[in-house]
């Protein structure tokens, strides 16, 4: 069964989630991955959106972080200060999903500006919940399309701490949380080197060469000793994902729904 790179990326991210996880979900690809996991191998996963919805089970993916669907299908809905104070800062979240316009080799993220902050070439939306999600969740999964402009040697701005600019800052600041443990792109899967915390390719998606990955990376990409091939999306995974996206597109009156 044929599939798109985005589908491969979404499925690979979904597979990393477990029934026991309590997930802080962002809109877009993370929302697709988390709900795909919930609708396939992890029916008991708990999804939390920063709009305050606890244990939500949306039928269609939200366009916004606060769509009514999230509240109507939630166990309950609390205030936004409570979500950030009792639930995120309180250490109740096991996995936080993040993305951004730029990521560096130590999985630090930029979602603030391209160019200088005072005079940006592109003003991006900014942190939202990301800055504290990055440090408050048990571990962080990053899901991003890979390219030389997004996988950069040097971030224009560090919005959300990964492992730090040298890979040591997170440890030095004394965080008990793991930080970025997984980065899934449309080309491959990366995990941090246990020693240096530099993200290394541990799995290539089917049909993707090391050269393609190197070309799509703004720093000299490292590969793990053993690089496996990502298991392609299964028929059931694709069917559930496509149904979900079709329902979503129909609901939002757009071709892409959550994109």
């Amino acid at each position: 069964m044929t599939y798109t790179p985005t589908e491969m990326m979404t499925v690979a991210a979904a597979r990393a989630l477990k029934n026991e996880d309590v997930c802080f979900v962002g809109i877009g690809l993370p929302s697709a991955a988390c709900n795909l996991a919930r609708l396939t191998h992890a029916p008991r996963i708990k999804l939390i959106y920063e709009s305050g919805t606890l244990g939500t089970k949306p039928e269609v993916l939200p366009l916004s972080i606060g769509d009514g669907e999230l509240c109507e299908t939630a166990l309950t809905t609390v205030s936004v200060p409570e979500i950030f104070r009792y639930w995120l800062q309180g250490g109740r979240i096991s996995v936080g999903f993040l993305g951004g316009a730029q990521v560096d080799r130590f999985a630090n993220l930029n979602s603030t500006v391209i160019g200088p902050y005072a005079k940006p070439k592109v003003r991006l939306p900014g942190s939202g919940g990301a800055t504290e999600i990055a440090t408050g969740c048990g571990q962080i999964f990053i899901i991003m399309r890979q390219g030389a402009r997004s996988f950069v040697k040097q971030l224009d701005f560090l919005t959300s701490l990964g492992h730090g600019r040298t890979g040591r800052e997170r440890r030095d600041l004394g965080f008990k949380t793991k930080g970025p443990a997984l980065l899934v792109s449309d080309l491959c899967i990366l995990r941090p080197d246990p020693e240096t915390s530099e993200m290394m390719v541990t799995s290539l998606h089917p049909g993707i060469s090391r050269e393609q990955v190197v070309e799509a990376t703004g720093w000299p990409m490292r590969f793990a000793e053993e690089v496996t091939e990502t298991v392609p999306p299964g028929k059931d995974e694709l069917e559930v994902l496509r149904d979900l996206l079709a329902r979503t597109a129909k609901a939002h009156g757009s071709a892409e729904g959550h994109e």
Partner: protein, 267 residues
């Protein structure tokens, strides 16, 4: 609390130069009130909102804002807020000073404001570049554990405006669904205006812990059905996601934006 028309509420409680917070976290965004502020041509406003959203994109594009305090300036699920970007990137229609925070920081700052505190203490920003561009972010130590904690000034808007589902005849206001930071934003403010979908004789049977703002915490209550559109009101109408998608094209070019505002807001 007094019941007023939208026009009178805005002219009485929103002044040039005010720090104004129109809150509502995706849900219950007070668009009708924002449009009235635009029609009345307020100037030099400091706009406060976690997510500026389309309503502040419109107010910024119409030149009402001198300053923006925010934590996420995008069109949810769609992309950029083009008027916000044009103001920050090219100073059109006028330069916009920004005070940038994270969601956790804004939520804590409203909470601290509602609690009557001068500042909020939380665990945030460590390892991020944001403190280097926002002098309002300081760090203090817990006197017991020695842990470094983050401290920011509380938010105390001159006026907060929110939209809610219901008011009763006494002017008490009931909010349901995604309640966001509305209660905190109202209690943190010097003045508070609430637009509502409907005014009922009595809220009737309800949860004993329903989210209700007593009338004596409010300056004015305004009947404004559909007052949150294209945002939504849980139990009344759903989010006009198609419009949020369409806004991307409407707001991309200055002229098209201005024409749309003339046609749909100013007249």
């Amino acid at each position: 609390m007094e019941f007023l028309t939208l026009q009178n509420a805005i002219s009485e409680y929103v002044k040039d130069g005010d720090q104004v917070a129109l809150e509502g976290f995706t849900h219950l965004i007070p668009f009708a009130a924002g449009h009235e502020i635009i029609r009345q041509g307020r100037r030099d406003l400091t706009l406060i909102r976690m997510t500026p959203d389309l309503i502040y994109d419109q107010m910024i594009g119409m030149g009402l804002a001198r300053r923006l305090i925010f934590s996420w300036g995008g069109n949810p699920g769609v992309g950029s807020l083009h008027r916000f970007r044009d103001a920050v990137e090219r100073g059109w229609p006028q330069p916009l000073e920004i005070v940038e925070h994270s969601h956790a920081a804004m939520a804590n700052a409203y909470d601290a404001g509602a609690a009557g505190l001068p500042c909020a203490f939380f665990r945030g920003y460590r390892g991020s570049d944001l403190p280097s561009v926002n002098p309002d972010i300081r760090f203090v130590h817990c006197p017991f554990s020695g842990e470094e904690l983050t401290c920011i000034p509380s938010l105390r808007p001159d006026v907060t405006i929110i939209h809610a589902q219901k008011a009763d005849r006494a002017g008490n206001v009931l909010i349901e669904g995604i309640i966001g930071v509305q209660k905190e934003a109202v209690l943190a403010a010097r003045r508070a205006v609430v637009t509502v979908e409907e005014i009922v004789d009595d809220f009737g049977p309800r949860s004993s812990n329903a989210v209700i703002l007593p009338e004596w915490t409010l300056s004015a209550v305004v009947l404004a059905p559909n007052g949150a559109h294209p945002s939504y009101a849980h139990g009344y109408y759903s989010r006009d996601n198609a419009f949020y998608i369409a806004w991307d094209d409407i707001a991309r070019e200055r002229e098209k934006f201005q024409e749309w505002m003339r046609e749909n807001v100013l007249r």
